[in-house]
């Protein structure tokens, strides 16, 4: 019986988080308190220290700093504007055209950079102003930008799916990446349909069509940026290289593209790009180290088995359990950042759902899509903060136009959860 341990873990974590201790330290300290109850002190802290260090010593995790670095080169290298131009000639004419441009640019940029925050700032910084100038309301534009930035986390390559692969004990990264395409694009389309209706009702203006020569020029301009997706994904899916090797190739590719082809990054900029990368990386790494520690503490205290017993007591119906897990994750996502949520809750929920016959690939996508919603909600929605920051509006203003978009996200989540074929047919096609 270790109910007191669960109690200490959950409550000390909530209190620490609530008073404003950084998330990684809250995770680490609550794990430390819990372990101190059940072990002598020196072995307890030594074990945690060892878990932190060994968690980071992983060749798979190396993909994360490199995808972040590639994202930095893209951010500063003029890749965002080229993707926006491409989306504009493609969909600018439709009703709600600029909202579509925003969403598609976020999907492309988010996919290439693998970061929702980078997409929200790079695309939002440009598009929100542009939409406002054409007559769109600013809160609506920001809401569209914030919600659509999360699509890039599901559309590959995606760092969070790499983290899920690690937490799940080795679900194939290539399979997860393949599985992300359809749900990610579906989410983008759901957001587009809401934005389209909204723009139609508000009679927002549309762009006049571009000439064919203009379209061809913009497509050609964007091709070198889009080629990155082809190289990285082709290599990983074709089994030519691992995700980590692909990330290193992405660094070389984006560096060459932004410095030699687009010529927007200079050699002097490199130290600051590297420093920014190491800062962003370490924030994630400390979260990973602390979360792996907490995850170990949980399995040491048999917490996954107890949660599983409680859940199966409520119901043994697959659909009910999935609904409960989704509700728990939505709640968790509101208070917790995505990385620790995936690392801590995968070991708890994955055994339950695989027992019920769910494919681990499918569960990974459901979990990430679910937690994407939390990224857009206060109090810890990192994408929300960046999105309102670049739009220079307050969180209160953005919430109302975001509600219909939230509903679109929730409907997509239910669809993805209960129709596994949407997620799985594409990886199945490649034999996973």
């Amino acid at each position: 019986m270790s109910y007191p341990e669960i109690f200490i873990l959950v409550f000390s974590f909530m209190i620490l988080l609530g008073i404003g201790v950084p998330v990684a330290y809250s995770i680490g300290l609550s794990s430390m308190f819990t372990l101190l109850v059940s072990m002598p002190s020196l072995p307890a802290v030594t074990t945690l220290a060892q878990r932190m260090a060994t968690a980071l010593d992983s060749f798979t995790l190396l993909a994360i700093p490199f995808f972040i670095l590639a994202g930095q080169f893209m951010n500063k290298g003029g890749i965002a504007t080229r993707l926006i131009d491409l989306a504009k000639v493609l969909v600018g004419r439709l009703p709600g055209g600029l909202a579509f441009v925003n969403i598609i640019s976020c999907m492309l940029f988010g996919a290439i950079s693998g970061s929702a925050v980078a997409a929200a700032s790079a695309i939002g910084g440009f598009m929100v102003d542009k939409m406002e100038k054409s007559g769109y309301s600013k809160p609506f534009s920001a809401a569209v930008n914030i919600t659509s930035s999360t699509t890039g986390l599901i559309i590959p390559p995606s760092n969070i799916l790499i983290i899920y692969s690690l937490a799940s004990g080795g679900v194939s990264i290539a399979a997860l990446f393949l599985a992300g395409y359809v749900p990610g694009i579906l989410l983008g389309m759901a957001l587009m349909s809401v934005a389209g209706v909204w723009a139609y009702l508000k009679k927002y203006p549309t762009d006049e069509g571009a000439a064919l020569s203009e379209i061809i020029k913009k497509v050609l301009d964007a091709i070198p940026s889009l080629m990155l997706l082809v190289i990285v994904m082709g290599g990983i899916v074709g089994g030519i290289f691992t995700a980590t090797e692909a990330s290193a190739i992405a660094v070389v590719y984006t560096a060459v593209l932004s410095m030699l082809v687009y010529k927007e990054v200079k050699f002097e900029d490199i130290p600051s790009i590297f420093l920014e990368t190491s800062k962003t990386t370490s924030i994630v790494m400390l979260l990973i180290g602390a979360s792996m520690g907490m995850s170990w503490v949980m399995s040491f205290e048999n917490i996954p088995q107890q949660v599983s017993a409680v859940l199966l007591q409520i119901s043994d119906n697959k659909y009910v359990i999935l609904l409960i897990i989704n509700l728990i994750l939505l709640f968790v996502g509101v208070f917790m950042d995505m990385t620790p949520a995936v690392l801590i809750f995968t070991p708890i929920f994955l055994p339950i759902v695989t027992d019920l016959g769910m494919d681990p690939i499918h569960f990974g996508i459901v979990m990430v899509l679910n937690l994407c919603i939390g990224l857009c909600t206060p109090p810890v929605g990192s994408v929300l903060f960046v999105g309102v920051g670049v739009a220079k509006i307050s969180i209160q203003q953005v919430i109302k136009p975001m509600l219909p978009l939230f509903i679109a996200m929730l409907v997509t989540l239910l669809l993805i959860t209960y129709v596994p074929q949407i997620t799985l047919w594409w990886p199945r096609l490649f034999g996973f």
């Binding site: 404003g20 430390m32 220290a49 260090a53 590297f274 520690g293 109090p379 990192s382």
Partner: protein, 155 residues
Amino acid sequence: MSKVIRLLEYVLVVLITIMTIDVIWQVASRYLFQSPSSFTDELAGFLLVWVGLLGAAYALGKRAHLAIDILPKKLEGRSRVALLMIIECCITLFSIGVMVIGGTNLVYLTFTLEQKSASLQIPLGYVYIILPISGLLMAYFSLNHMLESRKDIVK
């Protein structure tokens, strides 16, 4: 404190540069020269531990870690400073407890057990030594933040 941050910046840029070159070299040696090098992936893993933990201390110095700051923002004056002190104490407690004490013991254990890495044959203690180092840096930054908040209240 600003000098320590400056120094950390140099070290981090050097480490992450080596890490990048190391992995690019690994890919190149595997595909271009057909002779995969055996130590690069091990070295890269160790460098990631170093960059991750040293960078975490740097990020703390820059107050860049994610936190829910609703409560600290709502409070004012003395109670705000008191809360900020409690937060910094929690950070110090973890840094000293797990990273410095736990980390030092871990380094001690791996040295006495003579654990070495598989291909480079480096004693693993040299890799783990970054735990107490960055724990100490974290505690140092945290104490500095406490002093800064105290100055605010004097004003």
